[in-house]
Structure formats: C-alpha cells, structure tokens
Symmetry: C2
C-alpha cells in the first residue's frame, strides 16, 4: 500500500507496476490493484478506463526506468568490456526477475499489440545498445549475436534463479559469460 501523500492515480500506477512484476497481467485483478493502492472502484475507473490502460501506463513507466538504469552503466566510465561487466554485475533483484522480460510469458500481454509494444521495444533497444558497445571492442565476432547472448544470459539467469529459489545460478551464468567474453 502506497503512502497517502501521493495522489490516487499515482498510487494506482505504482501498485499496478508491483503486481505486474509479481503476478503478471493475467494474475492481476483490478480489485487487487485497488486494495494495494488503498483506493476504491470508483477512483480507479475515474482515472483509467480499465485494467488495460492502467497496465499500459505501468508497463511504459517500467520500460523507461529500465532503459535509464541500463544507460547509466552503458554510458559510464571505462573500456567497453568494463562497461559491459558493470552492467552485468550491477545489483539486481534476481529472484524477482526482470519486470519487462516476465511479460513475454503473459498470454494476454503478447496478444495485445499495445501492451506488447513496450516489451518488444525495450528488449530490442537493449540488444542494439549492447551491440554497439560490443562492436567498440573491435572483436572479430558478430556484435549483434554477442549482444543477444548477453541479454539472453541475463533473462535466462533470472529463470534459473527463480527455479532454484536462489540467486546462485544467475551469478554463475553471469560469471560463465564474463569468463567467455574475456579469455
């Protein structure tokens, strides 16, 4: 439940972001959103047309935040390999997973072009941005392919960590990738 110091629309958006992360779109009901936000039916349907519009707003905000956080590492100091390492080793809420990547498993998100677009764009941007940095290293390997491997290792690392109930497999996957990239 969010503090009453913020307006209702804002609390509804943040509650939706949390629930989409924890339970996905299919697993999240308007009632659950309202309860977490501490608002009633009337308030929610006054500010938003329904679950879909609220989710769209929430997903867009999460996507933007994710890009901004990644960009901090990408445009930070150091050699290309150091920046990639900084990105991979950044602190993460491993057991919660990626709030954008998890939406790819949601049938109703994938079936809705509007909800799906920010998911597609964000992961596409990430691959492209990383490909540029990989290219800077002057490697003889295909930068686009290596970039896809990097993003996939993170996304898959979350899957392994959640299955195991421990961040260890995520950390192993990242270590394995870095050892392959740097040797």
């Amino acid at each position: 439940m969010y503090s009453a110091g913020v307006n209702a629309a804002e609390r509804l958006i943040e509650s939706t972001r949390d629930l989409l992360w924890e339970r996905g779109y299919v697993g999240t009901s308007p009632k659950a959103i309202q309860q977490r936000a501490g608002s009633g039916q009337g308030s929610m349907y006054h500010h938003f047309s329904g679950k879909q519009e609220l989710a769209l707003t929430a997903i867009r905000r999460t996507a933007e935040e994710m890009r901004a956080r990644a960009e901090e590492q990408f445009s930070g100091p150091g050699t290309p390999i150091e920046r990639i390492t900084a990105y991979l080793r950044r602190e993460r809420d491993v057991l919660k997973g990626c709030p954008i990547g998890r939406l790819t498993q949601d049938p109703d998100v994938m079936a809705d072009p509007l909800l799906r677009a920010p998911v597609d764009e964000t992961l596409g941007w990430l691959r492209g941005r990383l490909a540029g940095i990989v290219a800077e290293t002057g490697t003889k390997l295909d930068p686009q392919a290596v970039a896809a491997t990097i993003v996939a290792t993170l996304q898959g690392g979350y899957v392994l960590a959640r299955a195991a109930g421990s961040p260890a497999p995520f950390d192993q996957a990242v270590s394995g990738l870095l050892s392959l990239l740097t040797d």
Copy 2:
C-alpha cells in the same frame, strides 16, 4: 481437442500440458481444460482431485519428456563440443518457449512446493548434466558456470524471441554463445 481414441484422463492431461505451455497455470481454468479435452466437469473431477493434481501430472510428464529429449543429444555421438552444439542447434518451437522454464514466471506454481519441485529439478539436472560435458572438454573455465550460461542463453533466447515475435534473436543468442565457446 484430442481424438476420442484415447481415454478421458489421458486427454485431460494432454490438454493441461498444452494450456500450461500456452497460458501458464494462473491463466488456465478447469473449464478450458475440459473443453479442449472434450470432457465434462464430472469426468475431470472423477479422474483428478482438481486443477492442482492435474497440473502436477502434466508438469511431471513434460519434465520427463524434456529430459529425455535433451539426453538424446547429450549422449549422442561426437566430441563434447559437438554434443553441446547439437543440443543448442536442435530444432525447437522457439516462439512457444520452454514449457518448464515458463512456469518460473507463474506465481501460483512458485508458491506451491509440489508444483515447483519438477521445475527446479529439471533445470537443475540440465545444468548438472551440461557441466559434466563441459568438464570433458578439459577447459580451464569453471564447468558449472559455463553450463549455467548455456542453459540461461536458451531460456533467455526464448524470452527475446517472444518479445520480438521472431525466432531471430534466439538464433543470434545461440550463435553468439557458440562463437564464444569455440574461439
């Protein structure tokens, strides 16, 4: 809908397997299972105590099938690297994703130790089995870490492919990984 040449319990299990793959546990209702199986309420609740038991049966079967398919490549002919390559390049239903990995995003599966166990065991087995094959190569890298990277690349590759609506990012991620493993 499965052919009437098979008994009801069997049709219910296969329908559940399909729906868990397509929509996850939270997104799958008893009614949807019954309709796809061409059976009624009575039949389903005669053969199974409810949605949970049916899902458990379905998940266990899927897990076993997945291990058997992987083992075909792992114990096939060739050098360790050739067998890993054969496994990575094997034909896959990329846009559907991994029927076991996707369950890690399902809150009700993760919250239920019984449903969760086969997911944990299967991905754990996969990492362990691959670590053994990586060790056979005599690499100086950590086999467990590299094995985690391999499994994560596959699981994350599915995520990227689903987001993009195309198998291309999956194929890129696999190519990138193979180029890192073999150069």
